[in-house]
Subunit: 204 residues, 2 copies
């Protein structure tokens, strides 16, 4: 710390806040001074909610998603289709799929994707528990909803090899021109794939 | 909250973090998931330092700056010149002046500047305590280091009227072309003032 903070408490708070990703020392100072202006209740709510994250959040023992208890609300729901599993990289992807309002099955959070560059191999991901789930329960379909990157494709392929013996239907998200996109700004690979995988025109 | 958080604890943390200025819900989620990945010690350090801001920080009873005790380290220092006071808007300006390494006197933090648009009048600022300090102690010079805005100029003028009876020397920061700036990109008012207030050339 090269700045002259007039208070060690302030310096400490700025130091801690600036350890967050994308937040530099200047922003951290701005945030700390903002908190100082608000009342104690609000500072306590913020501080305690951050500590509570680590103390009270659990990982669902079935799908590996973030949860308040040992089994998440999706896995324990009676209203969802338990014969279909959507495989995603992380919690944010569960939220993204949930926000579409188009999926009513269960999830499986891998906790990452295979990436030799980052030193992440199959053993670091919750792949064994996925295979177990598929082998034990009456799963009819698995949807791969992983990123459309080389790492995502590698993981898809690895999972496919691991799951093919279960004879479960395996599908993946459609790739194509995004809604609202101009063709001239769509990259060739995406446009090429959307031609190869063209679908029957239907009036909506 | 329109997103489907899988955990109420997570939703609560995201809600609290996104109340900070300049942090939206997506950034708050990114930060919360980052904290989740780190260990409990780090989450506690961050959370407690935020609460400590409100619980332990004090305002110096002399200069109004943020401090760990009733009197700040600058006001209680024996090594600083107590005959000169630099008047600034807030704590950040104290840091900015301190970082120049060119000022060794005392400070007075107004806690804002006169701004009728924001409903801030002289009574909201620590002006009376400044006048008292100057009247009581042997202050030889007061430096106005307020923003070069209309509000800053208004505050300068108000302070000048309040302090002129003390016969103390009153000065203000030099305004002129910033070091490293091109003349062609300097605004006319600044360039005009730097011509009027031109200084004797000295070889350095």
């Amino acid at each position: 710390m090269d700045r002259n903070y007039s208070s060690k408490v302030l310096a400490q708070a700025v130091h801690e806040i600036s350890r967050l990703p994308g937040i530099g020392e200047k922003t951290a100072l701005r945030l700390a001074l903002h908190i100082l202006k608000k009342d104690l209740t609000q500072a306590k709510a913020l501080g305690n909610s951050i500590i509570s994250l680590k103390e009270n959040i659990k990982i669902c023992k079935i799908c590996n998603n973030i949860s308040d208890s040992d089994f998440c609300s999706i896995c324990t729901s009676n209203e969802r289709d338990d014969t279909i599993i959507c495989v995603v990289e992380n919690t944010r992807d569960v939220m993204a799929v949930e926000n579409t309002g188009q999926f009513f099955g269960h999830y499986h959070v891998l906790g990452g994707i295979i990436s030799p560059m980052d030193g992440i191999g199959p053993a670091d991901l919750s792949i064994d528990s996925l295979v177990e789930r598929i082998e034990q329960n009456g799963i009819k379909e698995i949807i791969f909803a992983l990123p459309t990157t080389m790492e995502g494709d590698t993981t898809n392929f690895y999972l496919y090899k691991k799951l093919t013996h279960t004879n479960t239907k395996i599908s993946t998200l459609a790739r194509g021109v995004a809604i609202g996109d101009d063709l001239e700004y769509t990259d060739e690979i995406t446009l090429g794939r959307s031609l190869v995988n063209r679908i029957k025109f239907e009036q909506t």
